[in-house]
């Protein structure tokens, strides 16, 4: 991976020097060796801050909505999941393709810094895994869209995305409800899941609205569950399964269980679909299209 870092710095330097881009979105080393935090580099002299290693877990695409009202051209590093996020943002017209210079990274799977933090602080005795939970089910480790690419192409693992969903589905209605209420009762409504999500790119989030106030702000189990249901439905058909919501959750709620269930439903009703794979017209989320033969059952 250090090889990638050197190449990444070289590319960033060239792009900034010849004025192709005004800024580079990448990662830099954080306070601990197992933390690589998102960073912005605007000056060619600063490119040595950039790293590309096995801790670059953050999805940089989620930062792009912050730059929607700028005109600067941006270079962005993109793993498989990040690149799908970028495709979604272009489809949602948050940013245009010509404002981006995408440096793809063929991603072998990242490690979760949180696990290392917990291990280091003694909070958890478990040894940090080689692959973060969010990378275990990854089907698209290689970027789907890029101008330049780093590293060797990777093979996706077995498709087991829906095993957990199937497990929940086999429970009884009451068991399921109790399971979810229990999980969501931990939610502290920090909205980290929303902020980490590329699909959450509205200018004003409906959860911040007061008229009407769609979901109560208190952290009681029902309002928490309601918040998560609405959030999951808002990203239905848009979720790129990057798993950032679940990773960002400080209390470890299995949020992807909701997202994947909706992915399963959308697949069943509208045919197999995975968000953010291509910029073609046909790749627009099925819930954002209207066809006469659309099934009623989604309502």
């Amino acid at each position: 991976m250090s090889d990638n870092t050197a190449k990444a710095r070289e590319i960033a330097k060239k792009l900034l020097q010849d004025g192709t881009v005004a800024m580079v979105l990448g990662w830099e080393k954080g306070s601990e060796p197992y933390v690589s935090a998102p960073t912005v580099v605007r000056d060619a002299a600063d490119v040595d801050r950039l790293v590309v290693d096995e801790y670059c877990i953050h999805d940089l695409a989620a930062l792009l909505p912050d730059y929607r009202d700028h005109s600067d051209k941006i270079a962005i590093f993109a793993k498989g999941c990040d690149s799908r996020g970028i495709v979604r943002l272009i489809q949602d017209r948050v940013i245009t393709r010509d404002r981006l210079y995408i440096i793809g990274i063929n991603c072998p799977g990242m490690k979760d810094p949180n696990e290392f933090i917990r291990a280091a602080s003694g909070l958890s005795k478990a040894k940090p895994a080689d692959k973060a939970a969010k990378c275990l089910h990854c089907q698209y480790p290689n970027p789907v869209i890029y101008d330049e690419i780093l590293g060797e192409a990777q093979k996706p693992g077995a498709d087991q995305r829906l095993t957990e969903v199937d497990k929940i589905e086999s429970m009884s209605a009451d068991e399921r409800y109790d399971f979810f209420i229990k999980e969501f009762s931990r939610c502290i409504r920090c909205y980290a899941c929303r902020n980490a999500c590329v699909a959450c790119n509205c200018r004003t989030c409906i959860f911040d609205e007061t008229k009407p106030q769609w979901v109560g702000r208190s952290t009681d189990p029902v309002n928490n569950l309601l918040y998560q249901i609405v959030r999951a439905m808002h990203v239905a058909g848009r979720c790129i399964e990057c798993g950032e919501c679940e990773r960002a959750c400080p209390v470890g709620i299995p949020l992807m269980l909701l997202n994947r269930k909706l992915i399963k439903d959308v697949d069943q009703l509208f045919g197999p679909y995975q968000a953010g794979l291509s910029l073609e017209d046909e790749a627009i989320p099925p819930l954002s299209r209207y066809r006469v033969d659309d099934p009623d059952e989604f309502m």
Binding site: E175, Y177, D178, F179, F180, V222, N223, L226, I229
Partner: protein, 53 residues
């Protein structure tokens, strides 16, 4: 949505869809009666409910 609510543990009877035309008064009354009967069978909703009172 129905499937999603079921997934969360809401009984399917509680959320129903029907297509009734403007000329089908009888069907309207029948469906209303039917829905009320079904929901009477599953009993009061305790889920997804904010604690009132």
């Amino acid at each position: 949505m129905k499937s999603f609510l079921q997934y969360l543990g809401i009984e399917p009877e509680r959320y129903q869809l029907a297509w009734i035309s403007g000329s089908e008064g009888q069907k309207f009354a029948d469906i209303m009666t039917h829905v009320v009967d079904e929901i009477k069978k599953v009993g009061p909703n305790r889920k997804l409910r904010e604690e009132h009172e």
